[in-house]
Each structure stands twice: as C-alpha cells, then as structure tokens.
Subunit: 137 residues, 2 copies
DNA sequence: TTTAAATGGATAATTATTTTCTTTTAAGAA
DNA sequence: TTCTTAAAAGAAAATAATTATCCATTTAAA
C-alpha cells in the first residue's frame, strides 16, 4: 500500500479514497477481478462511485506499473496487483484464475529471442484445464 | 481445404461459398486476422456478406476445431487456421502477430500439471517485443 | 425434384469500455 | 487554516466488438 502512495505521488497523480480502495481490493485478493467485480466489491463502501472511475483508475495503475492486465480469453479484462511476470492457470469449468509460481519458465524469453529475430520484452503464459475442485466432477 | 469440407460434413454443417471463402482467407495467411479484417478481405468477392456471417462462421469453425481464437491483448480476437498448439509473438509497435515453432515448449503443460493440482489441458503462450523491422528504429 | 432444416443478411440488441461534461476534491500556496 | 486551481469523480452518452433475432433463400438428403 505504501507502494501505491509512493508511485502516485512520484508520477504526480492525486491520492484519492477511490484509488486507495481500488488498489486495496486488488492487493488483497488472489482472484484477479475484472473492473465490474471491483465495482461490485466497492459499491457498499462507495455507493456513488461509477464504473468509469474504476476504468480510469485501472488505466493509471497500468501505466504506472501498479497492476497488470490479464487477457485470459474472456470478454473482459482481469487485473492483478502482482506485477511480477508470472504464469496463470484458468479453470475451464468455474473460470477461476490462479497464479503459477513466478520462477517457472523464466528462461523462455531468452529462448524465444534466439529463434525469432524479435527483441523479446515480456510474455503472458496462460494454461487451461480443470481446477482441483472441478476436476473431480 | 479438404479438411474444411470433411469436418463440416462430419459435424452436419452445410458447405457454403461464404464458409469456404472465410476458411480460405484464414488458411492462406500468416497474419492472424480479426473478424473485421477477414470481412474487409472478402468484401470485393462477397459484397453482400455481413459481419454477422463472419462471426457465426468463426464460431462454427471454433467449435469444430478448424480454427483457434487468439487473445493477444487487443480489443478484438484474432483467428488462426493452424490449430496446433503453438506460441505467438506480438510486435508492440506494429502489432504484427507471428507464429513461433510448435515444438518450442511442448513440455510446459506437464510441468504445470506437476506444480498446480490442475488437470492441465491446453495453453496459450504470448511473447511481446519488437519485430525485426521495428526493433531497428 | 421435393422439402425440411440450416444459413445468410439486415438490423437490433448487448456488453465492455471510453469519452464528455459538470461538479467536487486534493494538495500546495498564501 | 483558508484559498486557489488543476485534477479527479460521477453521471450519462458514445463507441466498438460481438451476439441475437427474424425472415427470405439456399443447401443437402431422400
């Protein structure tokens, strides 16, 4: 949370209750919520906050490196306050999105650089299957 | 192309000029076009074809395993007639999407299965950077 | 050739996201 | 602490991609 305050100040953005709340939601969950979900989680505490504020805030967070945007193949984006480069795994039945260990596959970027002629900067790795709960059904 | 005819027949879908044309576009390109792009590529040949037809057809192709849908982080999907599980690399400047060799990283699914308690079925690997053209600028 | 079922095309409807505009607020200056 | 003001919030309208609906037409199987 100090991270949030420090970064916002650094970049010249104002520190507002809404921004703090949105960051808190993201920082306290492992579930990689969408804008809509964040909105619902905060509607009791901030009854007047609009979805536009969520989107604008997420945009700022993204630009500032405070969150990363995930594209797991749904019709909306999800957000993760863990900005370290780490893979995700998605349950095809319950649509849960879990983290995978960050140290898994750290070497892949270099290998791709060798075979591709691209200057490789980042990656997004998504695995799909059935989660521990759903695979038993 | 025989694949298309065989699969459609197998699954009980009718073979129509539009479907053949859409599959032809996808099968003859490496550029992973979106629905919109496919639409534009075919508008001379099929001036009356609507975008809805493209979307409906892509849905059928997807369900039938004739194409795969890519989610490279844009606001629209891209489509690939190469349904083999292979990684992609996206240029952050010109937005080109290239294929990476299929045999790269075939073992990853098993490794994830070991550490995750998921039953892992598939994966999507996206790398980001600058393409050979753009990296020189 | 016949005919039921599937498809295509036009259009309206959805859904996620972005923009616009007005009011409110955070943060530094006085 | 109060004042000032640019930035932010909120409401509502606008976009853009995608999906659904409806009906005339086409396809494929008998």
């Amino acid at each position: 949370m100090e991270t949030l305050l420090k970064v916002l100040k650094e970049k010249g953005y104002k520190i507002t209750p809404q921004r703090i709340a949105i960051y808190r939601v993201l920082n306290n969950t492992k579930e990689h919520p969408s804008a809509e979900i964040i909105y619902k989680k905060l509607e009791k505490e901030f009854p007047t906050m609009s979805l536009a504020t969520i989107y604008k805030t997420l945009e700022i967070f993204k630009k500032s490196g405070l969150v990363q945007e995930l594209n797991v193949g749904e019709n909306s984006f999800r957000y993760d306050a863990n900005v370290k480069d780490h893979p995700h795994i998605i349950c095809l039945k319950c649509n849960k999105v879990d983290d995978l260990p960050e140290n898994l596959f750290t070497h892949l970027k270099d290998e791709v650089g060798k075979v591709s002629d691209y200057k490789v900067l980042s990656k997004q790795l998504y695995f799909y299957g059935y989660c521990p709960v759903c695979k038993g059904e």
